[in-house]
C-alpha cells in the first residue's frame, strides 16, 4: 500500500511526457537567459484544471517572462510547457510552436498594458478574439458570400454575449480609443472569451484599476472560470486580489521557484516573506 503513495508524491519531479490527470498546464524546468541575465531559472510548477492559479514575485522576478515563455512569445532556452488542449484530452508541449498557433490550442492571454485596437469599436476588438474560427476565404468576405455573412453574424452574437457578460454591452459601438482603462481591461477579457479558452493567462489584470474595480474584477474572474469552464493563471501585484481570488499561488524570485501553496501557506512562508521584505539581518 505504501508504494503507490510514493509514486504519487514523486510524480511531479520525474520528467514524464504527459500531464497528470487533473493538471491543465505544467511548466517543467523552464529556463531562459537574456545576455548574462538568467530571467527564469529551472522553474517548475503545475496548474490544476479549473483552478485560479496565481504567479507572484517581487518586481523583476520574471513573472511576465514566464508568461511569455508559456505563450511562446519567447523561446525558452530549456524546459517544457505541457498543456491540455481544448480538443479531446490531448496534451501538447507548447515549446517551439509558432506564437500565433497557441490560441488554437485553447490558451489565450491578456497583456500587462492593455493591447486593444484604438481605431476599432469595442465589438470589433472583441471579434478579433474569434479570428481563428473564421473559415470564409478572403473572396467570400470581400463579396459577402453566405458563409462569410453567417460567420460574421454568429461571432458578432458571441461577442455581444461576451460584452454583456462583462457588463459593457452598452458601449459596443464606441471606439476603443478614449474609453476608460477599466473598460479596456474588460475588452481584453471579453476578447479572450471568444476563443473557447481552456486556459486564460492574465498579465496583471488589476494594474491601473481602482479599489472598487479590483473588487469587481475578483468576482468577474471567478464568474469567467465557472461560466466558461476554464482554468485561469494570473500574474498580479495586487496582493489583496491574489490572496482573495487564487486557489493556489506560486511565488518566484529572480526567476527561481520559491514556494507553491494555498494563499494562507504562501503568506506564512519564510522564503516568500524574505523575498518581499528582505532577509533578516543575521
Amino acid at each position: 500500500m505504501v508504494e503507490p503513495l510514493m509514486d504519487l508524491t514523486l510524480a511531479p519531479q520525474t520528467t514524464t511526457r504527459t500531464l497528470a490527470e487533473d493538471d491543465a498546464l505544467r511548466v517543467e524546468r523552464l529556463s531562459i537567459s537574456f545576455g548574462g541575465l538568467r530571467a527564469v531559472d529551472d522553474l517548475s510548477f503545475a496548474v490544476k484544471k479549473k483552478e485560479i492559479f496565481g504567479l507572484i514575485g517581487p518586481n523583476g522576478a520574471g513573472k511576465t517572462t514566464v508568461f511569455n515563455c508559456i505563450t511562446q512569445f519567447y523561446r525558452p532556452d530549456e524546459g517544457n510547457v505541457f498543456f491540455r488542449t481544448g480538443k479531446g484530452d490531448g496534451v501538447v508541449n507548447l515549446v517551439g510552436r509558432p506564437v500565433h498557433s497557441i490560441i488554437g490550442l485553447g490558451l489565450v492571454r491578456t497583456f500587462q498594458n492593455v493591447e486593444v485596437i484604438q481605431e476599432l469599436s469595442l465589438l470589433e476588438n472583441v471579434l478579433i478574439g474569434a479570428h481563428i474560427d473564421f473559415k470564409a476565404t478572403i473572396f467570400e468576405q470581400a463579396f459577402k458570400l453566405p458563409r462569410a455573412r453567417r460567420e460574421e453574424r454568429l461571432f458578432q452574437k458571441k461577442a455581444e454575449e461576451a460584452l454583456a457578460f462583462l457588463g459593457i454591452i452598452d458601449r459596443r459601438d464606441l471606439l476603443a480609443g478614449g474609453q476608460p482603462y477599466g473598460v479596456l481591461k474588460k475588452v481584453e477579457l471579453a476578447r479572450t472569451l471568444m476563443a473557447n479558452p481552456r486556459l486564460i493567462i492574465l498579465d496583471e489584470p488589476a494594474a491601473g484599476l481602482n479599489d472598487s474595480e479590483t473588487h469587481e474584477l475578483a468576482s468577474t474572474i471567478r464568474q469567467i472560470r465557472d461560466a466558461y469552464d476554464c482554468t485561469i493563471l494570473l500574474v498580479e501585484h495586487d496582493m489583496r486580489l491574489v490572496m482573495g481570488v487564487c486557489d493556489r499561488i506560486c511565488a518566484i524570485s529572480f526567476g527561481k521557484f520559491l514556494a507553491c501553496d494555498v494563499p494562507e501557506g504562501i503568506k506564512r512562508n519564510k522564503l516568500v516573506q524574505e523575498a518581499y521584505l528582505g532577509e533578516e539581518e543575521a
Binding site: V99, E124, I128, H131, Q141, R171, R222
Partner: protein
C-alpha cells in the same frame, strides 16, 4: 439587437443606412459628369482629369489597405501600375487577345511578382520595406525602358479603347467603365476591411503582440495586404492604359508613387471616400483649379508645391486627413455613453 446605440443610426434617412447603396449613389454621381460635358457645362478636357482621378484612386485604395490598415509602407506603386499597363497593352495589341484576358493576366502577373517580393522583404518592417519596394519599382522602370520588344521602350506603347463583348468602347463608355470598376473596388474594399481579415490587419497595425496572441500570422497578413496593394496598383495600370490609350516609361516613375502616397495621407488613412477625395485633391485640383488662378497659376511646378504644403498641413493639423473633417462619422462612434455606475449588485462570487 442592442437598442442603446441604434437611435443615432436610425436618425439617418433610410437610403443612407446601407453602405453599399451609398457607394452606388456615389458611382452614379460621378457617372453623370459626362452629361455636363456634353451639355457644354464642363470642358471636355476636364473629363480626362476626372477619369485619371478614378484610375489613380484604385491604386490609392490599394496603398491605403497597406498603409492605413496594415501599417506597412510601399513606394513601389508606380512600378506595379506600369507593369499592369504594359502587360495589358501587350496582350491586347501584340497577342491580339481579348480585353478580359488582358485584365486577368495584367492583374495576376504583377500580383504574383508582388507576392514573391513580399515573401522576401516582408520579414523586415518599416523603412526597409519602403526601400525594397522603391528598388523594385526602379528596376521595373528601367526594364520598361529597355524591353523594347514588349514595352516599346522610350516611345511607349499605345492601345485603343477596350473592346468588351464585341462592343468597341469610346471615351465616354471607357469613362463609365472606370466608374463601375472604382465603385466595385470601393465596395469590395469596404466588405474586406470590415470583415475578419480586415480586423486582423487592424490588429496587426494596432498591436502586433495582441494580433499574434489572437492567432494572426503576421507574415501571412502582411503578404495579404501587400499582394492586395499590388493587385490594386496593377488594376489601376490596366485602367490607365485603356483610358489614356498610351503607356510610356516616364509616367511610371517615383513621383507617381509619392503622389499616390500623398493622396492616401491627404484623403485620410483607413477612409475609402477619403482616398478618392484625396486622389482628386492631389491630381485634379492643381490642374483644374489652381492653374486658372491669377499670378499663382503661372508658377512652375505648382502641383508639387501645392501637394507638399498640403501634406505638411494635414500631418500637422489633421492627421486623419480630409476624411477626419467629416463630422458625422466621428460623432457617432466617439459619442460617450452616459456614465452609469457599473452595477455592483452582481457580486455573485
Amino acid at each position: 439587437m442592442n437598442d442603446l446605440s441604434s437611435p443615432f443610426t436610425n436618425a439617418k434617412p433610410a437610403l443612407w443606412r446601407n453602405a453599399y447603396l451609398r457607394f452606388v449613389l456615389f458611382g452614379l454621381l460621378i457617372a453623370t459628369l459626362p452629361l455636363f460635358s456634353s451639355l457644354g457645362l464642363m470642358k471636355s478636357s476636364t473629363l480626362n482629369y476626372i477619369g485619371n482621378v478614378l484610375v489613380y484612386a484604385v491604386a490609392a485604395l490599394g496603398l491605403n489597405l497597406l498603409l492605413g490598415y496594415a501599417g506597412l509602407i510601399s513606394l513601389g506603386t508606380a512600378g506595379f501600375m506600369g507593369l499592369g499597363s504594359y502587360i495589358a497593352a501587350y496582350i491586347v495589341k501584340d497577342m491580339g487577345m481579348s480585353f478580359w484576358a488582358a485584365l486577368v493576366a495584367a492583374v495576376l502577373i504583377p500580383t504574383l511578382i508582388g507576392l514573391l517580393i513580399g515573401l522576401i522583404s516582408l520579414r523586415i518592417e518599416g523603412i526597409y520595406l519602403a526601400i525594397a519596394t522603391l528598388c523594385v519599382s526602379e528596376i521595373l522602370l528601367k526594364s520598361f525602358e529597355q524591353a523594347d520588344s514588349i514595352t516599346g521602350g522610350m516611345q511607349g506603347k499605345s492601345v485603343s479603347y477596350p473592346v468588351v463583348f464585341g462592343h468597341a468602347f469610346n471615351r465616354s463608355s471607357t469613362y463609365l467603365m472606370l466608374v463601375v470598376v472604382l465603385t466595385l473596388v470601393m465596395m469590395l474594399t469596404h466588405s474586406f476591411v470590415n470583415g475578419q481579415k480586415g480586423r486582423a490587419l487592424h490588429a496587426m497595425r494596432g498591436s502586433e503582440v495582441a494580433a499574434q496572441a489572437m492567432g494572426v500570422n503576421l507574415l501571412q497578413y502582411r503578404l495579404i495586404a501587400f499582394s492586395l496593394a499590388t493587385a490594386y496598383s496593377a488594376l489601376s495600370g490596366v485602367l490607365y492604359v485603356f483610358f489614356v490609350k498610351f503607356s510610356y516609361p516616364s509616367v511610371w516613375n517615383m513621383n507617381l508613387s509619392l503622389y499616390v502616397l500623398a493622396a492616401v495621407v491627404i484623403g485620410g488613412l483607413r477612409s475609402i471616400y477619403g482616398t478618392v477625395i484625396g486622389t482628386f485633391v492631389v491630381w485634379a485640383v492643381p490642374d483644374l483649379i489652381l492653374k486658372n488662378l491669377p499670378v499663382v497659376g503661372g508658377i512652375n511646378g505648382l502641383p508639387y508645391i501645392f501637394n507638399g504644403i498640403l501634406i505638411i498641413v494635414v500631418v500637422m493639423f489633421a492627421p486623419q486627413g480630409i476624411s477626419g473633417l467629416w463630422p458625422l462619422k466621428k460623432k457617432k462612434k466617439r459619442q460617450q455613453v452616459p456614465q452609469q455606475v457599473p452595477p455592483s449588485g452582481k457580486e455573485a462570487g
